[in-house]
């Protein structure tokens, strides 16, 4: 009984995690501006990490792989927002304005 309950719970978590990943991917393509795309990428990334790893940890039970999954989840939770901060800061430092409509590789923010 408990096994079937855990199985169904982990199915649900994994499916939700997969849906989050897809939503993030589609958002990265359809949103208009760089700063809005960062939102799509990082928020869905973190949520998907939590859901998918929780689902897998329920399947593995209490063992060494569960500890490894916990470690990977913690590192992804820590490093994901840091990378987002670093990227947004780099863009702002180089002069990309948050309301820019069309930009190219050769903008004055980063002329080679």
């Amino acid at each position: 009984m408990i096994d079937i309950g855990l199985d169904i719970l982990s199915w649900i978590l994994l499916t939700l995690g997969g849906a989050c990943v897809l939503i993030g991917g589609i958002g990265g393509l359809r949103l208009p501006n760089f700063y809005t795309r960062i939102h799509a990428a990082s928020l869905t990334d973190t949520m998907a990490t939590l859901l998918i790893f929780a689902g897998m940890m329920l399947q593995a039970g209490l063992s060494l792989p569960t500890l490894k999954l916990l470690a990977i989840m913690l590192f992804l939770l820590l490093t994901g927002p840091t990378a987002t901060y670093a990227l947004a800061n780099a863009a702002l430092l180089s002069g990309l304005k948050p309301d820019a409509e069309t930009v190219t590789d050769n903008d004055k923010g980063h002329a080679g």
């Binding site: 997969g18 960062i38 992804l76």
Partner: protein
């Protein structure tokens, strides 16, 4: 069910690759590389479980740590370039 999640992650990797190829500015491409990196970690973990080989989780752990170092290197690169330009303009 692992196969469904793997397919979802692979589709997102394709979408991120499209953004890396299309992205009008340089930062879009770096964002796409970052997304690609974290999706690779997810894909490696899910497939390690799918094939019943939990010792392959070491790869996902290594890559989760290394991904951040690459993006921080990009930040240092842009910062040093903008400070060099400021120094050149103020001379």
């Amino acid at each position: 069910m692992y196969i469904l999640v793997s397919i979802a992650i692979l589709v997102t990797m394709v979408l991120a690759l499209v953004r890396a190829l299309l992205g009008p500015s340089v930062y879009d491409r770096v964002l796409a590389v970052n997304v690609f990196g974290t999706k690779t970690v997810l894909l490696l973990s899910v497939m390690a479980f799918l094939n019943g080989r939990p010792d392959f989780l070491d790869l996902a752990l290594a890559y989760a740590l290394i991904n951040m170092v690459g993006i921080l290197a990009v930040l240092v690169f842009f910062q040093s370039r903008s400070s060099i330009k400021e120094r050149a303009e103020s001379d």
